[in-house]
Amino acid sequence: MNPTPIPPTTAPDVPDGTNNLPSPAERLQSLLADFLDKSQATFSLVIDRGGSILCQQGSLSGSVDNSILAALAAGSFAATKELAARLGEPEFNTLHHQGKHANILVNTVDDDAVLMTVFGPETTVGLVKFYAVSTVSSLAVLLKEARTSSDSQVAISKSDLDTVGNIFPQ
């Protein structure tokens, strides 16, 4: 005798926008968390090449302003791109700054973004580089999705702006 089929307790995912798939932002964070976990790196930032932060994961000791890190990393990466151009290269797609206790690795993600990773002596540059390669290709796909996602659209109107007085009171 065939058992009576048990009806599903949850509705199947349907392409009507009512399912609970993680948003692109959540998937970006999850991807970076997985990268940090595997590479044993401390902190990562996905940065627009103009110097703005797109997303971040992990933390740094002390009070470090992420936006300053992003601006400096983007500037440094842009400067090395000009160096590369002088040598006939489109750009150096990886940049490694080695310190005594801290290292920075910067990888190209796509034409608009780079991945900056901070790591310490508990891991190696080889391991971080290895996992960074697969991470940046997944990041490129996710960022493309995030840029057009409704989650990343700002819904503000003129009346919202009218309520704002001096943006920077002296």
Binding site: A25, G51, I68, I156, L161, I167, F168
Partner: protein, 229 residues
Amino acid sequence: MSIINYVNKEVQFKIVYYGPALCGKTTNLTYIHSHVADASKGDLVSLATAADRTLFFDFLPLNAVAIQGFKTRFQLYTVPGQVVYNATRQLVLRSIDGVVFVADSQWDKMQENVESFHNLRDNLALQGMDLSQIPYVLQYNKRDIPRSAPIHYLEYILNNQPVRVPSFESVATTGDGVFATLNAVSRLLLAKLVRESEEAADASKARAATPVVATPLVIASAQPNGNQS
């Protein structure tokens, strides 16, 4: 176009202070940094030469109002004004949202002002951008200098166009006009964000209202002789 931090729900605007060498770009940022509440500002970072001339850029991050759940963050940059650093200026202009063009009011700086303004247009064009499409304001700095060029002359050489952009007199060393300039360009950026937001909402509504029209299915009827009509 403003950049959104997907995780923090933060809208970031990049404003670049542009202008000829020694016109007061860094002085603007220094004054702003020293007069904004600690909670709203980050460190002022200067990549400068030993002689305190800007080598790459100055950078000052500022937190501002939250609108509809989105935090706003304004990132102020300067460019090196010296002619020789043009490649650096081009790098700093990447992903720019707004510009403050700082002009030097001294009579003997008029040619440098005009050259720097043209240089701004040219460098934006290299990135496929048009200054007329970017929110920008003019700041006529060093108004305290005796026998400085009159405002109408500065307007004539830098703001002589059908739709004039906002312009401000300033003395950046004392702070006169510094916040008026910053608030004006910031408000222009927020107004642009509102326009883009409303356009996106309208486009979304239009898509939703468009009835789905079934594409007529044309079936070629086979004729007995093998021809199709």
